[in-house]
């Protein structure tokens, strides 16, 4: 009886061809190589960004100029809040204006993304924004993560 249910097995070989495997891997590899952006700046300040609900995505990564604000990392723990642009800490605020002028000259559609630590007082943020306004870098994004629901 049970023989009745036996499937006929084909006489041919049942192997998946693996010759194209390296090609597939290479394609994936190239995809990730192209999309990858290695962390280009080393953070010199501690930043833990807040959460929010009404957020938008910025698709054009190349337009973004980051400004980091947070307590400075020191060997003995953390210090006073400081501003970091690119890979250096900005000691006086007018330098921010210079940096923004430069960014805007290269890319007029620059969006300044503020990555600010949640504990920082807004007074410092306003001072930075005054500099951004002077440089006419008016497109600002307050970087946040999505609120967990």
């Amino acid at each position: 009886m049970s023989a009745h249910f036996k499937k006929k097995s084909a006489g041919t070989k049942q192997e998946i061809p693996t010759a194209s495997m390296p090609d597939i891997i290479f394609m994936l590899l190239i995809f990730f190589m192209v999309t990858t952006v290695l962390r280009e700046t080393e953070l010199l300040v501690n930043v833990s960004i807040p959460q929010a609900e009404a957020i938008e995505k910025i698709d054009q990564k190349r337009l973004i100029q980051y400004v980091y604000i947070g307590p400075e990392k020191l060997e003995s723990g953390t210090g006073e809040p400081a501003v970091q642009i690119d890979d250096a800490i900005v000691r006086d605020l007018p330098q921010i204006r210079q940096a923004m002028y430069r960014a805007l000259r290269e890319e007029p559609r620059t969006i300044v993304s503020m990555r600010v630590d949640r504990e920082v007082e807004t007074g410092l943020l306003y001072d930075v924004q005054q500099e951004l306004r002077e440089a006419e870098a008016l497109r600002v994004n307050y970087s946040t993560t999505r609120e967990a629901e």
Binding site: A52, E56, E119, E121, T122, E136, R139
Partner: protein
């Protein structure tokens, strides 16, 4: 003739069996280091720099909703004490008032929300309040898009052609003014 080298008769092929392994290793490296997600956050437009000659534009006091936050995170809206959770509703009422209540706006496209804080406020609270204001606008736009097109504002916007006018954004413009804090 003696200058001719002896030819090795063995196969001179590079073994390619390990090619896939090498590719795999590289793949895993890039998989781990990759960050595809672009930045996200609350998008705002800063006011242009002040020029001395130019007077700030006159705004009917009705159309201006003043949101003030002090260093402890206490909220004052048009001189009335409220809390952060109530901001969204008040801003929505302000936008959609259409002249009904005397303390709120005369028309949605004229409504301005001014946001001003003390310098000592923590950034986390600042974002919490800004998030509520922005959410109020998003909800108003969402409701309008649902009523007229039966989709959310995000979907409506995605469907718009490149140069078509965004009717809803035009009717409910995002007029949030980030005011400078007074020096303490």
């Amino acid at each position: 003739m003696p200058l001719l080298k002896k030819r090795n008769k063995r196969d001179a092929e590079i073994p390619s069996a390990s090619m896939a392994d090498i590719a795999f290793l590289l793949l895993i490296f890039f998989l781990v280091t990759t960050t595809i997600n672009a930045d996200k956050g609350i998008y705002m437009q800063l006011p242009p720099p002040l020029e001395d000659e130019v007077e700030p534009p006159e705004i009917n006091q009705r159309n201006l909703l003043n949101v003030l936050v002090n260093a402890d995170g206490q909220v004052l809206i048009d001189n009335e004490v409220t809390n952060i959770a109530a901001i969204r509703d008040i801003v929505k009422r302000h936008i959609l008032n259409n002249g009904r209540e005397p303390q709120f706006s005369t028309a949605p496209d004229k409504a301005v929300t001014s946001f001003k804080t003390k310098r000592g406020l923590s950034y986390e609270r600042y974002i919490a309040v800004l998030d509520e204001i922005k959410s109020a606008y998003n909800e108003v736009r969402d409701e309008a898009a649902r009523q007229e097109f039966g989709v959310t504002y995000g979907e409506y916007k995605a469907r718009l052609d490149e140069d078509a006018e965004d009717e809803i954004a035009e009717r409910f413009p995002l007029k949030i003014s980030l005011a400078e804090p007074d020096p303490d």
